[in-house]
């Protein structure tokens, strides 16, 4: 019988009532008394020197309250990169200043160089247009192509960085010679050059911020679309604005999706605070969709050459990759970690390959900054690996399922240290592959292929066996890797006098369903109804210092902190119960919401203990503080390692090149599952985005740096009819060995595992149709498929 409450139950998402009925409270929904409106003036050229900013006319326009330019912020700090990466030669990465507003130069289309604050949005827009018209920018040649950017030192995104390179990273540099030697002696080498296409995150809610300043106290408040309010507070206060942290409250209310793009601090947040202080009124800004396209941190954008060395039976001997990773015009907060420690460390996959070497050169270009997007580095690693393995199987005429099987790390090998520096704690890759093959009815493929052929369609099947490192992250480890922050999380469990419970968590829910799942976990631990538990998040004035949600970390890290805080509540409850029941503390047991004296029928309910803690008339006050509230911080001992096997079947219309997903099967190992329905939903969403990347989404800049895909007229998002009914399974669970719930994380898996399964399926279909196409870059659009077939 499936459970109907607590851990393992598919409790319905309590937050959906407000999200689905228009009762959510998003930043733009808030009308703060006296609010003025900010509009940003953004560069229409990709690269240029600012000669003058035309603010004069605008300042006299109706309703205009203030105008800001880069000059106003030249003395405040820059928005920093969160990770310091060293190049192969030991030199630190180049870190150009990222100002609040562009100063001196504009570096991408959409780079904000001025802002207007006015009484109304329309007035601010009118003035912004005039500033744009009256500004003089000397256009410089745009730097778009990464290889060209590295080769041509005469044209520079940042004048002080001669080769447009941020760093040249080798992982692990000491292993390079051994990897090269393995390639020299290998019986077979497969080489593949591929592009991991740039993506625009496209959260349903665009970014928005409201800045407030309270002259009476000198306090600031920032309401903003953030996945991590404390991180934003740290960046805004300590690094950019110089506001003491204790004088800045950051609130991230209901947030309509982030996918990574709302991890980062953006200049607009600093601007609304500075403006609010100057005009002594709240200042609101909400991005238009076209601003989101131009100024949200984009994702992916790697150009990679991957080589696989193996024997003739397909046993892997070594992987070697060389990647150019686009960081865009400025370093966004996680941009240096994404192509390195979230990518290079995964380049062994779930395989017992002895030698791996990864080289990544990160390149500045006149494009929007690129940073972590759902999966962040791990989709790039998985795509490279799973595509080159597929190509090798074709070259050597080997079965792709068998090749994976013979190369998998086996269950007797855990804990397993990879040649790229991770220690996998547990997994069973054969089990997920077997499960996927069963659910996808691999044995029946030939029959389905024949049925497709009868309709004139080419059918193909593609496999991807993926692994990721998430539950980000052990602070000691990321510190060694260059992180400038710790990546623990925190939770406070406050039992109220009447026995209901408020749980304040550092994780932030922007669609994930934390309010439901976290309550399930606490309800299970305490034996109380889920409905008596409230999950509070997103406000630095309410929650303990937490690091927010990204990297599939919320449950694995913050959930662990929460369970530890609940453990403390139970421990204290036992002390109170021992006093009330006149028993030794060691004799008190806690189960099903009751504190009992072992071996007797003497018991106190959880509610009675809570009441006693706040009305301590009969209470051991001489040895125990009243109240029932506990906080725990949790820093994980290791990453978690979800893994799985995805099988995609496609039908290709050979006349038009159009690909349709016929079926998509996922067998995942997420460790213990707290809410199967929500986990399934996360997989659906992730695979949907992966299918979007594989078939549809294309971010294209022309040679002048104009974004050709700056609206939904040209940027193709996956829609309901682009994706199939998924088959999703999470039954092959090997619980995480080092966190209390045994959970691994499921938020990014779908986006990580799915793109290579789709592309492998398309290539398979084409081969079965007699078209010997080695590779097609994503998005595998109809035109690209047709061109490949007719090349």
């Amino acid at each position: 019988m499936p459970k109907d409450t607590g851990i393992g139950a598919s409790s319905k998402r309590r937050e959906d009532i407000r999200f689905l009925s228009g009762l959510g409270n998003y930043t733009d929904d808030m009308q703060v008394a006296g609010q003025a409106h900010a509009v940003f003036v953004r560069s229409t050229v990709a690269h240029g020197r600012i000669k003058s900013v035309g603010t004069k006319t605008a300042l006299g326009m109706p309703g205009v309250l203030a105008v800001f330019t880069g000059e106003d912020f030249k003395d405040v700090g820059g928005n920093p990169a969160g990770w310091l990466i060293n190049s192969r030669d030991g030199t630190p990465m180049k870190e150009p200043k990222r100002p609040v507003l562009a100063h001196g130069k504009v570096r991408h289309v959409g780079d904000a160089y001025a802002a207007v604050v006015a009484e109304t949005l329309q007035q601010a827009k009118d003035a912004a247009q005039v500033i744009s018209d009256e500004t003089e920018i000397e256009e410089l040649p745009a730097i778009i192509d990464m290889a060209q950017a590295l080769a041509d030192s005469s044209n520079r995104v940042h004048d002080e960085i001669s080769d447009n390179q941020c760093f040249d990273w080798g992982w692990i540099e000491d292993n390079r010679a051994a990897v090269d030697a393995a390639f020299k002696s290998a019986p077979h080498v497969t080489t593949l050059e591929l592009v991991n296409n740039r993506l625009v995150p496209n959260a349903m809610e665009p970014r928005a911020s409201i800045g407030e300043y309270f002259p009476g106290t000198g306090d600031y408040k920032l309401t903003t679309t953030s996945q991590n309010p404390h991180l934003t507070r740290l960046l805004v206060a300590a690094f950019v604005m110089g506001i003491p942290e204790n004088k800045l409250q950051v609130v991230a209310p209901d947030v309509g999706g982030g996918f990574g793009s709302k991890i980062y601090h953006y200049g607009e947040e600093a601007l609304v605070l500075a403006a609010a202080k100057q005009i002594k009124r709240p200042v609101k800004w909400t991005a238009e969709r076209s601003e989101s396209f131009l100024s949200d941190a984009h994702g992916r954008d790697h150009v990679t050459k991957i080589e696989l060395a193996c024997d003739k039976e397909g046993n892997f001997l070594a992987f070697r990759t060389a990647t150019l990773a686009n960081v865009g015009a400025y370093l966004s907060n996680f941009s240096t970690a994404t192509p390195t420690f979230l990518h290079g460390t995964l380049m062994a996959g779930p395989y017992k390959v002895p030698h791996v070497y990864v080289n990544v050169k990160t390149v500045f270009t006149n494009t929007a900054p690129v940073d972590a997007y759902r999966g962040a580095g791990r989709p790039e690693a998985t795509y490279s690996l799973e595509r080159v393995i597929d190509k090798m199987c074709r070259e050597l005429d080997l079965d792709p399922f068998e090749v994976r099987r013979k190369n998998f790390i086996t269950t007797d090998m855990f804990p397993y240290t990879t040649p790229v520096g991770l220690a996998y704690d547990t997994g069973d890759y054969h089990a997920t592959l077997d499960k996927a093959m069963e659910l996808a009815d691999v044995a029946g493929f030939e029959k389905r292929r024949a049925a497709s052929a009868a309709k004139g369609k080419l059918r193909g099947m593609g496999l991807s066996t993926w692994i990721e490192a998430c539950g980000i992250a052990p602070s000691h480890l990321v510190g060694v890797l260059g992180a400038r922050v710790g990546l623990y999380d925190a939770a406070t469990v406050r039992v109220n006098a009447t026995g209901n419970i408020s749980v304040m968590v550092g994780a932030h829910s922007h669609g994930q369903g934390h309010e439901t799942v976290f309550a399930q976990v606490v309800a299970e631990q305490l034996g109380v109804p889920e409905s008596s538990i409230e999950i509070v998040h997103g406000d630095t004035s309410k929650i303990p210092f937490g690091m927010g949600s990204y990297g599939s970390r919320s449950l694995a890290v913050c959930g662990s902190a929460m369970t530890k805080a609940v453990d403390k509540i139970i421990a204290k409850g036992k002390k109170i119960a021992a006093h009330m029941l006149e028993a030794a503390e060691g004799d008190i047991t806690f189960a099903d919401g009751k504190f009992s004296v072992a071996g007797t029928d003497k018991a106190k309910t959880f509610g009675e203990i809570a009441f006693s803690a706040y009305v301590p008339h009969n209470y051991p006050l001489e040895t125990l503080e009243p109240g029932l509230e506990e906080t725990a911080f949790y820093d994980p001992a290791n990453f978690t390692y979800p893994a799985g096997a995805y099988i995609c079947e496609v039908e290709v219309d050979a006349e038009t090149g159009k690909v349709e997903i016929a079926s998509f099967t996922c067998a995942d190992d997420f460790g213990n599952v707290m809410n199967p329905m929500i986990v399934e939903g996360q997989v659906h969403g992730g695979v949907g985005q992966g299918i979007g990347q594989a078939l549809l989404e294309n971010t294209s800049y022309d040679e002048n740096g104009q974004l050709l895909t700056g609206s939904y007229m040209d940027y193709a998002m996956p829609r309901a009819d682009d994706v199939p009914f998924y088959v999703v399974d999470a039954s092959c669970a090997t619980p995480c060995t080092h966190n209390p719930l045994g959970v691994k994380g499921c938020g990014e898996a779908g986006a990580i595992g799915s793109p290579p399964a789709v592309v492998n399926a398309v290539i398979d279909a084409l081969h079965r149709g007699g078209h010997k196409v080695a590779h097609i870059d994503m998005p595998v659009s109809p035109a690209r498929v047709w061109s490949a077939m007719n090349a």
């Binding site: 329309q122 247009q129 294309n698 007229m713 659009s781 109809p782």
Partner: protein
């Protein structure tokens, strides 16, 4: 959006008068104009709504064929033309999404003449007549290139009259993002011959593929166009497809339209 005045006349005469003013702009369903206004790419001083004029609405079968009022939304055409002209009704039912189909109008689509719109293929492929407040214009004379038509300044399309063919079908291949026609082909078989109109493909907007018309007039079967080729010259090349790809699609979709015609 900039500020503008809004008028909603109830007669064609009043609409014509309102449109004669400085900076006046006709607004039908607004499916192109409203986004343009929101992006501040247009700044009319007066918007003249054409959707309050009763005589410009509705679908009706008459001696000249099927007449559709210019302010009739696509969804209404999809529903009400289904019996008399199913090929055209299907075209209307495949435009955009339900919101677009319930706001967008045939007159608005034709006046705008987007090179990737569906209706121009249906109108040219049917050899329909565009009726304005001043005159009647044959479809062959009406479409004059991308976003260009025979309409004079201030001239309003009031309706369109379609001769009804024996068989017809429209097959559209979607541009993946916008789902406008990357290429769309309308084929109509009349007693006197076959017309084939192509949208989405050409730099010159909707056009007739006369070689296919001749071949299909002799033999209305997909095989009849097998031996023909379409030149990629003057075809649109963009992110979503090369001129060669679009030229190829013209032939593929023509065959499919012939097979689907009923």
């Amino acid at each position: 959006m900039h500020n503008f005045d809004f008028v909603k006349p109830s007669s064609i005469a009043d609409a014509v008068k309102a449109l004669s003013g400085d900076g006046a702009q006709a607004l039908s369903g607004g499916q192109t104009l409203t986004p343009t206004l929101k992006q501040r790419l247009a700044q009319p001083s007066v918007l003249v709504s054409l959707t309050g004029i009763a005589e410009m609405k509705g679908v009706c079968m008459g001696a000249d064929g099927l007449s559709i009022g210019a302010a009739t939304p696509h969804a209404v055409v999809a529903r009400e033309a289904a019996k008399d002209y199913p090929g055209l009704a299907a075209l209307a039912g495949g435009i955009g999404d339900p919101a677009v189909r319930n706001r967008g109008t045939i007159g608005g689509s034709l006046a705008n003449n987007d090179p990737a719109a569906c209706y121009p293929a249906g109108v040219l492929g049917s050899g329909a007549t565009i009726v304005t407040n001043k005159r009647k214009i044959a479809a062959d004379d009406y479409f004059q290139g991308m976003f260009t038509t025979a309409l004079d300044e201030g001239e309003i399309i009031t309706g369109v009259t379609f001769p009804v063919p024996q068989k017809a079908a429209y097959v559209k291949f979607n541009q993946p993002a916008s789902r406008f026609a990357l290429t769309g082909v309308f084929v109509a078989k009349f007693a006197g011959g076959v017309r084939v109109a192509v949208t989405g493909a050409s730099n010159n907007g909707v056009f007739r593929w006369t070689e296919a018309e001749a071949a299909l007039s002799a033999n209305f079967a997909a095989a009849a166009v097998e031996g023909l080729t379409v030149s990629p010259e003057d075809m649109i090349g963009d992110l979503h497809g090369t001129p060669e790809y679009r030229a190829h699609l013209v032939k593929v979709l023509t065959k499919r339209a012939v097979a689907a015609a009923h």
